[in-house]
Amino acid sequence: MSTLNTQPNFSAPGVTPLHAYMPGDQFYEQLIHSHQGLSDEQSRLVNARLILLLANHIGDLAVLQQALAAARAGVAPKETST
């Protein structure tokens, strides 16, 4: 069964970063930038669309199930999680 990768995994092809934090920081900046100028409602819609795009790219239902569980863990009480 495929396993959800929760190790640092951001990279740019062919680029060896001088510092390990660089590619992650770059993604995070792009993520925040993608919401610039949006209302909160628009941001929620962009986030939902982004999740769907990334989920389809991953595709593997086993991996997605692990990601859904990891995202929910600690946010809601255990007994209500599915």
Binding site: T6, Q7, G24, L31, R44, A70
Partner: protein
Amino acid sequence: MLSTYTYPRYAYRRPVELDAPHAKRRHPVVVVGAGPVGLAAAIDLAQRGQQVVLLDDDNTVSVGSRGLCYAKRTLEILDRLGCGDAVVAQGVTWNVGRTFHGEEEVFHFNLQPEPDHCRPGMVNLQQYHLEQCLVERAQSLPNLDLRWQNKVLAVTPQDDGATVEVDTADGRYTLHADWLVVADGARSPIRRQMGLDMAGRVFQDRFLIVDVVLKEPMFAEGKAERWFWFDPPFHPGQSVLLHREADNVWRIDFQLGWDADPEAEKQPDRVLPRIRAMLGAERDFELEWVSVYTFQCRRMQRFRHGRVLFAGDAAHQVSPFGARGANSGMQDSDNLAWKLKMVLDRLAPESLLDSYDAERVAAADENLLNSTRSTDFITPKSAVSKDFRNAVLTLAGEHAFARALVNSGRLSVPTHLLDSPLNTADSEPFAGTLHPGAPLADAPVLHQGLESWLLRHVGGPFVLLVFEADTQSVRAAVAAAAASTVPLQILLVSLGAGNAPAGCTRIVDHKGRVQQRLDARPGTAYLLRPDQHVVARWRRIDAAAVQAALQRATASDP
């Protein structure tokens, strides 16, 4: 408030120009601003044999602890300036930073994970102590004319220099400078007077900065770490940063938000409860210094304006998260001094100083990028930005990828000048990160049988570092130095002891770290700039290739 420090008062002396107003003596270099960057630039130039005038409008060092964290690269620069040992001895060494969310640690970093470096990742020292060390060094140099309470009123740039109007208690006078180095700080009166803009972002947030003296230290004697909290129980919804300083002084930064009233927040009735909430009611402390600051992330479009060169905060400003202010300013000075000296000595064309602009603008952009990213994480500007920040923090306890995204400041590391026009590209592969443009990594060596460090042997003129192979490699190096139009020193790295051939210095790589860090084989050679940056390297020395690289490194390509 308590004071652990007595500010020195430096004597004003009547400038000679006041008594000979019509003698139009020219000064090769005038530096404005005796803060860390101006002092470093003046010392570096004076050590290289240059006559320098350094002007400052005050008669003492920085008031308040201000710049606090001095990174490994700055300590290496200070070593070259003769101040490294004093700064490290007075300061508090640290390598580990911890980040907490609420009460839980979510991330930690180690600035110096590998052994065998002379200097640690970071030393904390109040800016006034650093400046005092530098002032004492400056005062020991006979060719450095440090003028206190000499306030610059106006600068008029010219094709061949600048005239500087200076005000003193005894009246005004004019200095004629061939080159002017401006290090007069973030508010730079000279930059404003010349009508030069800064472009960038203003962050709408305020931070309370408090120095407290603790009766009982929080860490064991001599031990220190950087602690950063997101949303701690003692300061909910905001961030807090704790640093240990020298003399058992502790720096605490409280994020206040944009709506805070800066004057009211500085009052003890507001400050004391915040500190008691953090340290606990039973801990004895006294306030030493309180300030409220905002910050900007911005830079000048160009740092070179003809014969006027801007450095440090005058040229660029970053957020404090990452200690990239004074540390990048020291790299500006490091970059500028040798180039200016070579131009003054007619060993390089004036265009060499364009590379100061190119290299340090690129470095400023790297510092701005990192400090802006940290600031956006620490002070999210929108609901969605805060959602992502909190998502990262809540995932960080369990998942490594999220820990890597926790950004409470990416601490100052030297810029690798990879795109510098002075570099000669590698013609053969090398492993590791010491590409042309990188600052040379330090390593332990033996010199004349005594323990020493690699960087102690680099930093005067250009150096050709050669891993000794056979007598042919030494002969080739000597031939390259003899053919060179600029002074070139040969540094032989060998595995065993022995007498250095005439004209060479020999060091022994007794732990193998030099060979390892430089990915060297017998015959490998590195060409190193006077600021210790790699500028070219080869697997085998060719005198013509060395000469071509030296010409390129001094902007003297045919």
